[in-house]
Every structure is written in structure tokens, then in C-alpha cells.
Symmetry: none
């Protein structure tokens, strides 16, 4: 699922420009020009990041920011403040209120994209490509968690390392020796056939009845994980 961004901006032309750019980068974009509505939308849709103009109707941007930070549910959503006011005082006030970044008009859309990406990378590593995935398989090396189709799976340490080894090398046939070296370490004198057994265990842990087996056996060569 793509990361979603809420754009709060009452200049329609600018709003469209941003929306277009963000979409092109693969974000799901929603937008509004109204502060009150923004607060509602955030609660309903829980976007992954917010671009917030300082000067909008109904509620000033900075007030929206304050409100969002106050509520536990929304306190951790990254916010980029956007404004024509370039004064230092304003920038500092924006940042102190809880904005994560502050960009002054006129700005470069590409730079704004880069800043959004940097923020997402920090707040939701899962959205910035840190998490390995194959179709409905998902492996997070940091939190050591594996999911299939959203369901958490339980893998033993070796199975985990092995799955990770495969997911880091999708679509490649890996020989038993390569797998031994990669998962057990270069200097292990373990029987090659042992790999078979662990492949079986991994399959058993990953596949629920009716699932497609993501691990392909390549006769006389080894195993591979298919990513299509």
C-alpha cells in the first residue's frame, strides 16, 4: 500500500501542483483548503504525512498543527509547514509547535518531495522500503517480524535468517552451499541436506493451506524465492 499524504492548502493552483507531484511519486493524495475539514480528514484517514499551509481559511495552519499534536492519535504524524512568510520568527514558531519541517514559498516541488520522503523514512521505515516484501509476505529486519497477508508468523531464528536471505536475493537460484554460507556462516561444516530440512520448516511456517509456495525447488541446483 502506498503512503498517503494530506495536502492542506487553499490556493487551488498550488494544491493541484502538489497533488500532481505527489501522485507522480506514488503517494495517495487527499487535499482540502479548510482547516476544520483538515482536522476531520486526518482523524478519518490517518494519513502518513501532512503538508500544511500556514495561511488557510477558518483555522490558521499553526493552530491545526497544535491540535494535531495534542491528540495522541495524531501526534506522531509528520507535518511539513508551508508558507509565504519567510521570517525567522515564524519558522521557529512553526518548528516549536511541532512541525517537522518548514518550507518557504516559493519552493521547489522536487525538494519538497525529497523532504517528505526523508520524513517518511524516519517515521515509518516500512513505507520507505526498509521492509522486505514479496507479494503478501513481509519481513521487517529491524523489529524481527514476519507477516503473511497481514497475519503475523512465527519463525525460529534459523528460519528467519533464511527467509531474509532469500528475500534479499529474490528471483535468484541459491545453491545449498550458498545458503549455508549465507545463513550459517562461511565456516560451518554442516551437511548440505540440512538445508532441505530447514526449507521444509520454512515452508511449513510460511504457507497456510491453499497458499502459493513462494519457494521454488530447482532440481540439482538449489532453491529460489520467486518475486513476480
Amino acid at each position: 500500500m502506498n503512503p498517503s499524504v494530506l495536502v492542506v492548502e487553499d490556493d487551488t493552483a498550488l494544491c493541484d501542483l502538489l497533488a500532481w507531484n505527489l501522485s507522480a511519486e506514488g503517494y495517495d493524495v487527499r487535499s482540502t483548503g479548510d482547516g476544520e475539514e483538515a482536522l476531520v480528514m486526518v482523524r478519518e484517514q490517518a494519513p502518513d504525512a501532512i503538508i500544511l499551509d500556514w495561511m488557510i481559511e477558518q483555522v490558521p495552519g499553526i493552530e491545526v498543527c497544535r491540535q494535531l499534536r495534542k491528540d495522541k492519535e495524531t501526534a506522531r504524524i509528520p507535518i511539513v509547514m508551508l508558507t509565504a512568510r519567510g521570517e525567522e520568527e515564524d519558522r521557529i514558531r512553526g518548528l516549536k509547535t511541532g512541525a517537522d519541517d518548514y518550507v518557504t514559498k516559493p519552493f521547489s516541488p522536487r525538494e519538497l518531495m525529497a523532504r517528505i520522503e526523508a520524513l517518511l523514512r524516519r517515521s515509518r521505515p516500512a513505507l520507505a522500503g526498509d521492509v522486505l516484501q514479496y507479494a503478501d509476505l513481509e519481513l521487517d529486519p529491524t523489529s524481527h517480524r514476519v507477516r503473511r497477508d497481514g497475519e503475523p508468523l512465527h519463525l525460529g531464528p534459523t528460519e528467519f535468517k533464511m527467509l531474509r536471505y532469500f528475500m534479499e536475493r529474490p528471483n535468484r537460484v541459491l545453491s545449498r552451499q550458498q545458503i549455508l554460507d549465507g545463513v550459517w556462516g562461511m565456516d560451518s561444516d554442516i551437511d548440505e541436506r540440512t538445508v532441505d530440512v530447514h526449507i521444509r520448516r520454512l515452508r511449513k511456517a510460511v504457507n497456510r493451506p491453499g497458499d502459493v509456495d513462494p519457494i521454488r525447488t530447482v532440481r540439482a541446483a538449489g532453491y529460489a524465492m520467486d518475486v513476480s
Copy 2:
């Protein structure tokens, strides 16, 4: 303990200015003008944030940034790039390389301070004086108080530090060694198994009968606090 910042800047005057400002805000400041040395210092001192000049001796700042991001131990330290080059391309390149923010000279020290604080707030909320709050657990670093579901809990000093260490790093698997380094200090020669015992004590203090245990044991790896 105050948050620590490493300043990597070879213009001595500017370096001192930054150091002075940061100290005044209560940060522990270290500095160097050399890229190679910076890499060593980061590994040794694990600062909470880094201010990095693009143009420094030995190794270009962007290369330092790349190196830091490559290493898992240092990948999550917030980095602010600092530079005279105001070109959009450079800014975007800096951000894409993994910098979290990018400030162009000449800049306002106060704004830089605000940006550092905003970054710390996101990466280590406790350092910015915020209350850490996940699920029904609540830890206030300032008043040294912990609550679960509103109920005040009684934790020993070590348990408190440990819980805080976990809450500052939610969802991450932490090895026993990391926990020892973070809670007891880098230079403690304490048995790794001792961590187990303190985990038990923390669990006992935090979980009332029927509660979900927020601390997950990851076999052969360590422990993690789950929040999502």
C-alpha cells in the same frame, strides 16, 4: 542525561558558534573538522544528532552521510546537512542520501536549533522532554513517573531506565549487549544474562494480571517493545 550533538565543520569560527549555541540550549557538544575522524567519533560516542557540513576535509560530507546510513548501528541518527551550496540539486541529493534536514548558509542559529529539536523530538521523544506514550503505557522522563492505563506503577531505577530505553526505541529488537550499553553504560562488565532477570522484573512491574505483555522476547536476538 543531556542529548548530545556532534558538529562536523572545518570552519573553526562557525564551529565554535554552533558549539556555543548548542551548549546554551543544554546539549552536550563534540566537534571535529575532519570527515574520517567524524566517522570514528560517531561510532565511539553514538551522538543523538549530527550537524554535518557538506564541504569538509578528507571525506566530503555527503560521503560521511552515506557511510553512516550504511551501518546499521548509526543508520538512525538524525543528520542535518549544512552548506553554502544552495542549489536545488544539492539539497535534493543530500536529502536522498539520508540527511534528515538541509540548511543553507547563511543560516540563523536559532532556526538551526529549532530544527535540531524538531528532529530529536521525532527520533528520541524523551530527549525533547516529551512524555513517552504507547498504547496504555505512559512514561514521563522529567518527573520520572510511569503509568499503565492511568494507574501509577512503581519501578526501580534500573527498571525505569530500561523501560525508557525501550520506549525510545519502539518496535526495534535490541540485543542484550545493546541494552547493557544503553542502560548500564558502555563500560560495564555485567553478565548478559542479567538482562533477562531485569526484563522479568520489568514485566512483573508493568503487567497486571490479564494484560498484554508489551515486551516481546525474540529468541537468539534480544527483546523488543511492541507498540503497533
